[in-house]
């Protein structure tokens, strides 16, 4: 399908775009033509299309209002494909490219006919605070009625249905001066800073630097037109090595210590984005000085019927005409309270648009403006207001109330309006600056800057270019330079709040995107919202995706007027990052998929993967979970692995265990402080199970510690606990015992640890060990020796986490796989298996060995866990010793770790399940405790569990119950050691 018309509202001789660059695009499936350099909005306007969206609450037909990022109405979806669909793109910002496909939002079935617009007829029933008033009761209605309703009504646009295939880049940058905003102020500041040899970054959210100079047809600077002057400064800056110019780059967030986040849009304006470019690039800039030159945003007039398509901001109309060569209509009305709209009106007139009349709320207007209007034959009504408009999908008339109270009707197809300019305080406010109310000009202006930051230009309240340039030079420490400016228009004047005698009638919109009217704000005040923060939340004024760029000041003025308070007493809401909506992708950048979080692999990981292991994540580690053989499910594999270890032997990768080397003359003294156990009597070559507490007496970590010599300990920690245990030790060593001569080194990744467990463990490793006698007599349970295994220097432990005869071979990580394979070559022919963490868990539970963090939860003392024997009470001090004396920790009835056996041996309890003594008691039941570990024990032919139960040690043999949705499960309280309670196998 080709375009039917030839851009009827494109004006010859206006704008910077060339007809040679004609391209095609679609809007809601219909094909149109536009020009290269257009925005989607300017291209649609060139085709006479104003209706671009429906409002959020009332589904009112809406046209584009603004030519920049402040646009509240014209939000569209832009699709390249299913995965590349971006909702809520402002048509006024989206650059046109050949083949661009845009769809309107918030309408069904079509933009012209939308069923949801009945909401507008229902509007008397949707007042401010509607949700708070309506969705209160009954509570039952929440799940089925209210929440689904709110969820359906909330949210604009559709999310893409596939994951984002684009790349996003992230860069850090440092500079002397970061200038945000490349309008007249920013350009001059950059030029002056560059002259002083400072490193400069200048960014602007638009594709071109120049700001409002690109929209002004009259101004002349240094003998050049506005756009030509901007281009000349840019050309000059481009030649310099110390200046980086970033266009399409939004300063979205101002953080501490002059760190500013910028997002650069790299490919969203391209028809076919090159594969080697990221879609967006996030810049994190740390600047010695920040210059904010954000400019000002024009406000709309608040009057009844101010939201019909065809009603636009005067400055926007001027931008579309002078930059894009597009007029907003054939016959425009003008409604204003300041001078700038006159310039827009005169420009439109010159471009062939009829001006129906200029309606100015002010009774005093400059003679030169009135004279110029008269010369062009444009009627001006001063002291007048637009009282109403007509037209459904497009404005077609306005009713004017003149100064004398007379009503006049005008046929129009467009209406341009200006209530004056609001300095953009967003980034200044984000820098934690406090805006100050300026009574004379009725504006908030930047006050003191808490960071090394200067605001200049229109965002600082400057209303003419001479002031702008003076501020810009001063901001970068340059002498004021004489810059000739001709035909400048002042930004002064304007109104905030409602306008005209009829403002209370009909819908006078304050916030277009959230459909907040002047009446809503007044209602909120009447209903008791006296702070602007409350008014904002009650009415949702300023809470849409445009963050109230147009509406905040109006809403504030209306509320202040109702309250009869000065504006600063009602307050200004705080501006938050991001300044404009920012993609998640730009924040996430490369940290997604496999780069989202580091994944730690042991030296034996690849062997496990090659041998079919299933893996489970344990903190950042990937651990071999079980090794299924052909046809086995997890349950069968784990049963086989346990059986093989108990009857023959198994080989297990324990490399993830945290390992800390504690070295120094005071090592034993330090260990005495950090662990509950006594370390003085432990002989070199022996190992001990150690418990670490926090100062409050609760178990923090545990592990086996080998004493290699009087001043060297090989400490192991839980897999997930290694970093915090080292931090805990360092804390005490550095800050409480700085005089101790002890050094701590994390050695987790230096050692690969291979556990060989089972009756044949010694037979498997014996021929591989040299330099040590590992007989039962010479190398009993809980021994450690430095020797060689497979010719590699090793630390060999005789320890067991299975209850079987066991060894743990520590070799330097680089030899890990080679030693593992050599061990495996001996183990496999003897009938041993490789086993994973699940079998390890089952076997340790059969022995009642706890896992800190699973069987303890930060409120468990050694006594609670049945580990009183590991606490050396006679030691003068250890961390947690005093904490253990606290009355609550010594009281009766604490939860204690016990074993549980289900009456039906086949029933396996759920971990975390609650335990009660009487399942028939009324709800809420009295919970005695909960299940911490639960497994099927193939070895014992029954399920086993551990649980923390009130007074558990005194409940041996008691029957308790685990209530589940399908009935209570009866259990018997037992000791925690289910297998080989005498430990005969361990010592074999």
């Amino acid at each position: 399908m080709t375009a039917q018309n030839d851009q009827p509202f494109r004006v010859k001789g206006r704008g910077a775009l060339s007809r040679a660059g004609t391209i095609e695009f679609t809007f809601d499936g219909k094909t149109y033509q536009g020009l290269e350099g257009d925005t989607l909005a300017s291209a649609l306007l060139a085709n006479g299309v104003h209706l671009m969206g429906r409002s959020f609450k009332y589904h009112r037909p809406r046209g584009v209002l603004a030519a920049g990022v402040e646009e509240p109405n014209a939000l569209v979806g832009i699709s390249r494909d299913k995965a590349r669909h971006t909702p809520n793109v402002r048509a006024s910002v989206q650059e046109l490219y050949d083949g661009l496909a845009a769809t309107s939002q918030n309408r069904f079935p079509s933009l012209n006919f939308d069923i949801g617009s009945v909401n507008s007829l229902m509007s008397p029933f949707f007042p401010a605070g509607f949700y708070y008033k309506t969705f209160k009761w009954p509570a039952k209605a929440w799940d089925k009625l209210y929440e689904p309703f709110i969820r359906r009504a909330a949210g604009l646009g559709d999310a893409p249905t596939e994951s984002d295939p684009d790349r996003y880049a992230n860069r850090y940058a440092h500079c002397d001066v970061l200038i945000i905003g490349g309008g007249a102020a920013g350009l001059l500041a950059a030029r002056e800073a560059a002259k002083k040899k400072q490193s400069v970054i200048l960014c602007d959210e638009n594709p071109q630097m120049g700001g409002y100079l690109l929209s002004d047809s009259d101004v002349e600077i240094e003998g050049l037109s506005g756009p030509a002057w901007a281009a000349s400064v840019v050309a000059e800056l481009k030649k310099l090595d110390n200046v980086r110019l970033l266009t399409r780059t939004t300063g979205f967030g101002y953080f501490q210590q002059n760190m500013v986040g910028l997002v650069e849009s790299v490919t969203d304006h391209l028809s076919t984005p090159p594969a080697d470019l990221p879609r967006e690039r996030m810049w994190q800039v740390r600047a010695k000085k920040v210059v904010i030159a954000q400019g000002a945003i024009e406000r709309h007039m608040v009057f009844p019927g101010n939201d019909r398509p065809g009603i636009v901001l005067a400055g926007a109309a001027q931008t579309w005409l002078n930059r894009y060569g597009v007029t907003v209509g054939d016959r425009a009305g003008v409604f204003t309270a300041c001078d700038t709209a006159y310039a827009a009106a005169f420009d439109l007139y010159e471009a062939g648009t009829e001006i129906a009349a200029i309606i100015d709320t002010r009774s005093q207007v400059g003679d030169d403006l009135l004279a110029q209007a008269k010369e062009l034959g444009i009627e001006v009504f001063t002291g007048a207001a637009v009282a109403a408009t007509t037209g459904n999908l497009r404005v077609n008339g306005m009713t004017v109330k003149t100064a004398t109270g007379e009503e006049k009707q005008f046929d129009i197809d467009s209406l341009i309006m200006s209530a004056g300019w609001t300095p953009s305080l967003h980034l200044y406010s984000q820098s934690r600056g406090k805006p100050v109310w300026d009574e004379a000009s009725q504006r908030f202006l930047p006050g003191h800057s808490p960071q090394n930051c200067v605001t200049i230009g229109a965002c600082n309240g400057a209303q003419d270019l001479a002031t702008v340039f003076a501020e810009a030079a001063k901001a970068v420490g340059a002498k004021p330079t004489k810059i000739t400016v001709k035909d400048d228009v002042s930004l002064a004047g304007g109104v905030i709040g409602t306008t005209g005698p009829a403002a209370d009638k009909g819908k006078a919109f304050v916030d277009f995107q959230n459909d907040v009217t002047a009446k809503d704000i007044k209602l909120a005040v009447r209903e008791g919202m006296h702070s602007i923060e409350h008014v904002k939340r009650y009415t949702t004024n300023g809470m849409a995706t445009d963050q109230g760029k147009l509406s905040n000041m109006h809403g504030l003025a209306i509320a202040a007027n109702m309250l009869d308070k000065p504006i600063p007493q009602v307050g200004l809401t705080t501006f938050r990052a991001p300044y404009t909506p920012t993609t998640f992708g730009s924040f996430v950048a490369h940290t997604r998929g496999s780069l989202f979080d580091p994944s730690r692999h042991t030296p034996i990981h690849d062997w496990a993967a090659e041998n079919g292991a299933a893996f489970e994540p344990v903190s950042l580690w990937k651990r071999a979970w079980y090794f299924p053989q052909a046809g086995e499910d997890m349950h069968e594999a784990v049963d086989r692995e346990c059986r093989t270890v108990r009857t023959t032997a198994g080989v297990f990768d324990a490399s993830t265990l945290g390992k800390i080397e504690v070295v120094g003359p005071d090592a034993a003294a330090f260990m005495n402080i950090m662990y509950t156990n006594g370390w003085d009597k432990l002989k070199p070559g022996r190992a001990k199970y150690g418990i670490m507490l926090r100062e409050d007496g609760f178990i923090y970590d545990d592990g086996v510690v080998g004493k290699l010599s009087d001043n060297r300990f090989h400490v192991t920690t839980t897999t997930g606990g290694a970093p915090r245990v080292l931090n805990h030790m360092e804390d005490y060593l550095q800050t409480e015992f700085p005089d101790m001569r002890v050094w701590l080194t994390s050695t987790t990744e230096q050692w690969a640890t291979i556990a060989v467990q089972g009756p044949k463990a010694r037979e498997i490793i014996k021929p591989l060990v040299s330099g040590a006698d590992i007989s039962n007599e010479k190398f009993p349970h809980m021994s450690v020796v430095e020797c060689k295994v497979c010719g590699v220097p090793a630390r060999l432990f005789r320890i067991s986490f299975t209850g079987e005869l066991g060894f743990e071979i520590n070799v330097p990580a680089d030899y890990g796989r080679a030693v593992w394979e050599t061990v495996w070559e001996r183990a496999e022919p003897l009938g041993a298996c490789a086993y994973g963490t699940e079998a390890m868990h089952v076997m340790r539970a059969e022995k009642g060995y706890i896992i800190v963090g699973q069987d303890t939860d930060g409120t468990v003392t050694p006594h609670d866990a049945g580990l009183t024997w590991a606490v050396a009470k006679s030691k003068p001090d250890f961390v947690g010793k005093r904490g253990l004396q606290r009355p609550d920790l010594m009281a009766d009835g604490r939860r204690q770790l016990v074993g549980l056996k289900t009456t039906d041996p086949k029933t396996v309890l759920e971990e975390g399940a609650q335990i009660v003594d009487d399942p028939e008691q009324p709800i809420p039941m009295k919970m005695l405790g909960f299940v911490t570990s639960s497994y099927w024990s193939g070895t014992l032919g029954q399920s086993i569990a551990m649980a923390l139960i009130e007074g558990g040690a005194d409940r041996m043999g008691e029957k308790l119950y685990v209530p589940m949705p399908d009935g209570a499960i009866e259990v018997e309280v037992t000791g925690t050691v289910f297998y080989d309670p005498k430990g005969e196998k361990l010592h074999g």
């Binding site: 501490q256 210590q257 934690r432 100062e695 804390d731 550095q734 003068p876 005093r882 904490g883 004396q885």
Partner: protein, 100 residues
């Protein structure tokens, strides 16, 4: 993101390298066994949460690994001073001076 000056490295480094370690200048008594429950509670559990000047511990966890002390204004997030572990708590007069 904050830049924090490590008094050991003598460099401004990004916040990501550091870990906050709670309130500063809480001394672990030598004779803990003799502490009353109230004193233990005050020592271990009770913490100030001031609006304004806060004396706190940080660790240059992903740098030199050292613990140090800092005076930070919790309202502005500004670090007024950093100093090594073991150095005395700055006097109130000195802190008042830093705030100026």
């Amino acid at each position: 993101m904050l830049l924090i000056h490590c008094p050991y490295c003598q460099e401004d480094r990004p916040e990501l390298e550091f870990a906050n370690a709670g309130e500063a200048h809480i001394v672990r008594p030598k004779n803990m066994d003799e502490m009353s429950d109230e004193d233990f509670e005050a020592m271990f559990f009770i913490r100030d949460n001031p609006k304004g000047v806060n004396l706190e511990r940080w660790r240059h966890a992903f740098g030199c690994g050292r613990f140090f002390n800092a005076i930070r204004n919790t309202v502005s997030d500004k670090f007024l001073k950093v100093y090594k572990a073991g150095e005395p708590r700055p006097s109130d007069e000195e802190i008042a001076e830093l705030l100026k």
